[in-house]
């Protein structure tokens, strides 16, 4: 019998002696360049970090190549970040450049440190999930290619976090990122009555709908959906596979902006709707890429040093935001979900 419930490997077993020696005794750090950090401990010891974005989806041979680099330059130690970046932890400063050269040769460019775009947080998409409205890895690849200079060069006013969730389940901190892409459906699910009768628990399906758009239809042992009330969240599909919501003609991406999780200066903010819908355009999603690029270019040009995306918008105001980006403001931008009234303006002190 194999053992169970023993938990993850102990983190201390995965750390170099230098890290263990200085655990909790770091004094300060400096950004050396957009791919390199140095952390200085109280006893003066230094730990260099070389960071590189990864595509998140990786074959074991790539990970083995990373292991080889870590063995060669880092005594066998590295770590990952919460945004799918790899960080090599070096003790010897002279190893930085050779390591970077080897990474470049593998097709990995160090970057994402300081006032840059760090790696794009994302989910599974068409590669491995059953509910996506858009792909994940493909869009991320296209977008990161399109903004790559912002990843390797520190030319933004502050950090910028990009993320993507391929459906409203939002398995990433999309709703609090500076620029976020979210997969959306635009038509109600189709009810396959015979299958519903066979596969699904009707009360659970009815209860799953946040807008109460679903009613039981006892005569068919199925359900009916009130199209007027459905806002295409797909939650009913998660409960019941016989209510598919996919529609290649109507699914696509929405873009949200201005969110952040850090409380520095201004408290954490949700991201807010900038573009309600862009159709799916595989394999390279040119409209999504252009829109994201434009949103970042405008911010890079207009924001003050140190201002995160949402702080910039708070300063100039949303009415200005739509002006400077040239994005159309539509009825979709006005909330009509549950607590929408507080988002309406109740003062005449706005900008033209």
């Amino acid at each position: 019998m194999v053992k169970t419930d023993f938990g993850p490997p102990k983190y201390l077993d995965m750390m170099s002696d230098l890290c263990k020696r200085n655990y909790g005794k770091w004094k300060y750090h400096e950004v050396l360049d957009t791919g390199t950090l140095v952390h200085v401990a109280e006893n003066g010891e230094k730990l260099y970090t070389v960071r590189s974005a990864t595509p998140r989806l990786m074959h074991i041979d790539t990970l083995r190549a990373f292991c080889d680099l870590a063995d060669k330059y880092c005594n066998g130690f590295f770590r990952f970040t919460s945004r799918h970046s790899i960080e090599f932890l070096l003790e010897d400063e002279s190893n930085i450049e050779p390591l970077k050269a080897d990474l470049h040769a593998m097709g990995y460019s160090p970057g994402g440190v300081g006032n840059t775009i760090s790696n794009m947080l994302h989910t599974q998409g068409w590669i491995h999930c059953h509910t996506p409205a858009i792909d994940a890895s493909g869009i991320v690849k296209a977008v990161m290619d399109g903004v790559f200079d912002y990843y390797t060069e520190a030319k933004l006013p502050a950090r910028l976090r990009l993320s993507l969730a391929c459906c409203l389940n939002m398995c990433g901190a999309v709703h609090c990122s500076d620029v976020a892409i979210v997969g959306i459906h635009r038509v109600p699910p189709k009810v396959l009555d015979e299958k519903v009768a066979k596969m699904c628990e009707i009360p659970n399906v009815v209860a799953a709908c946040p807008t109460r758009a679903i009613r039981p239809e006892p005569s068919k042992k199925s359900v009916v959906i009130n199209d007027e009330k459905c806002m295409y969240c797909g939650n009913c599909y998660t409960m019941c596979p016989a209510i598919p919501i996919f529609d290649p003609k109507n699914d696509g991406a929405a873009i949200f902006v201005g969110g952040k999780v850090s409380d520095a200066r201004h408290p954490a903010m949700f991201s807010k709707l900038a573009v309600p819908y862009i159709p799916n355009e595989p394999p390279k999603w040119p409209t999504v890429v252009q829109t994201v690029r434009m949103l970042i270019d405008v911010y890079a040009k207009d924001a003050k040093q140190g201002e995160r995306y949402g702080e910039w918008i708070n300063r100039i105001g949303w009415e200005r935001f739509f002006k400077v980006t040239g994005l159309p403001f539509t009825d979709k931008h006005i909330d009509d979900y549950i607590f929408s009234i507080p988002t309406f303006r109740s003062t005449a002190t706005f900008k033209w």
Binding site: V2, T4, D5, G7, P8, K10, Y11, D13, M15, Y23, W26, K27, Y28, H29, L47, A53, P55, R56, L57, M58, I60, D61, T62, L63, R64, C67, A70, G76, F77, R79, F80, S82, H84, I86, G107, Y108, W126, I127, H128, H130, G138, K141, D145, L168, M170, A173, C176, P210, C233, N235, P248, V261, S262, D263, A264, R265, F270, P283, Q305, I338
Partner: protein, 396 residues
């Protein structure tokens, strides 16, 4: 080995400076039929603009209810390698630190028993192993267990907790994020591996207000390091920053949200009115050598964060303004256990903790947990007179 699938659309994602996931799948396709079929199915999704993964299907490993997510292609006749292509979630070491010899063992097992494709890491934090057959699941788990790797959570259970790098390599960690996540993960193995709750529960731990793991946005329980006393100022380093051309007024003084920092250009001295500081961390971020957090450290505990479905996105909110985080972390465990008990008793199926609090009211939550109501919990008191009284509170 059948020949490689033709993928004209995906091939357009091979070029460009950002590393290509298509290249990764192709590496696998050369030696593994499932990867080759994955290329084919993904190309089909690109043509048809629709996913080809079937919904549902429960699979698992003996003794565990979570950690494995069933995946089946809806076009298995075209892509037989994907008839079964299940995901396994493996509990990551705290802070995502790796030693190559340990990791290589995991990779070898996945080469032998799975597709060879991985995610480092899933959004929840686990190592994700993408794609294996039903009859390999137990073998993968056994082989991994032999090398000291355990499964993570999935389904209606405690999801694999995660934490920022913390004291492992960050001078700003007010709490030992790694020890906390490790301790709680080990303590709650049963809750992690056996789904028996109304829905999922996530714990994420960040060492400071910068919130490196986005705990506030995506954890039902967010633990954020903070301090209670005064920011430590190193006067010499302040002068060094200013002499070095640093815009201390623009970047620090003007950006302080409570305007509690002042700088005197004549004496080149910085002073902080700590009573009015909200510990937002901006000044420390900007002058790491000159400013350090206080010495009385602990965490703010926030509850209720999750993504929009069902009741809209919640950012988690303060329930304990300051908790000392000393091993063995009994205080946070006591709180978690009370919350789980209350949620388990009162929650509807698929209702997250935050949604339950919203439905039954903070009053009910505070009663269940015994936490006192304090001003730190709200931005401002309510602006309406429609509040409830309990029977015990009024004259009978």
């Amino acid at each position: 080995m059948p020949e490689l699938r033709k993928t004209p659309m995906l091939d357009q994602l091979l070029d460009g400076p950002f590393p290509s996931f298509v290249k990764e799948i192709k590496k696998g396709a050369e030696k593994n039929e499932a990867c080759n079929d994955l290329l084919g199915q993904l190309e089909l999704s690109y043509e048809e603009k629709i996913t080809h993964w079937k919904h549902g299907g429960i699979v698992g490993v003996t003794g565990y209810g979570g950690g494995v997510i069933g995946r089946y292609s809806d076009v298995p006749e075209q892509f037989p390698g994907l008839t079964e292509f299940h995901t396994m979630r493996i509990n990551q070491p705290a802070g995502w630190f790796y030693k190559t010899d340990r990791l290589r063992k995991l990779l070898d097992i996945w080469e032998k028993r799975g597709s060879g494709l991985t995610n480092f890491h899933g959004a929840t934090g686990d190592i994700i192993l993408l794609g294996t057959h039903t009859n390999e699941l137990q073998n993968v788990a056994d082989d991994l267990a032999h090398e000291g790797w355990d499964l993570g959570g999935s389904g209606s259970d405690l999801r694999t907790p995660s934490a920022c790098v913390g004291p492992g390599r960050c001078e700003w960690a007010c709490i030992d994020t790694l020890d906390i996540v490790d301790t709680l993960t080990r303590r709650y193995q049963n809750e992690l591996h056996r789904p028996m709750w109304p829905y999922k529960f996530k714990i994420k731990i960040s060492g400071c207000a910068n919130d490196g793991v986005a705990a506030k946005a995506r954890a039902d329980c967010s633990i954020i390091g903070t301090w209670k006393d005064n920011i430590q100022v190193n006067r010499t380093e302040v002068v060094n920053y200013v002499n070095g051309g640093f815009d201390i007024i623009g970047q620090v003084v003007d950006k302080c949200p409570t305007k509690c920092i002042s700088y005197n250009p004549v004496t080149k001295s910085l002073s902080i009115d700590d009573n009015n500081c909200v510990r937002c961390h901006n000044c420390i971020n900007k002058m790491p050598k000159a400013l350090r957090q206080g010495k009385i450290n602990g965490a703010t505990i926030l509850i209720g964060g999750h993504a929009p479905i069902l009741q809209s996105a919640f950012m988690s909110w303060v329930v304990v303004p300051f908790m000392e985080m000393k091993p063995p972390y009994t205080e946070i465990s006591d709180l978690l256990e009370k919350i789980w008990e209350w949620w388990d008793e009162n929650g509807k199926m698929r209702e997250r903790t935050g949604e339950l609090i919203y439905r039954l009211g903070m009053r009910s939550f505070l009663k269940a947990t015994g936490l006192p109501a304090v001003p730190q919990m709200v931005l401002h008191p309510r602006a309406n007179p429609f509040f409830f009284w309990d029977k015990e509170e009024v004259n009978q």
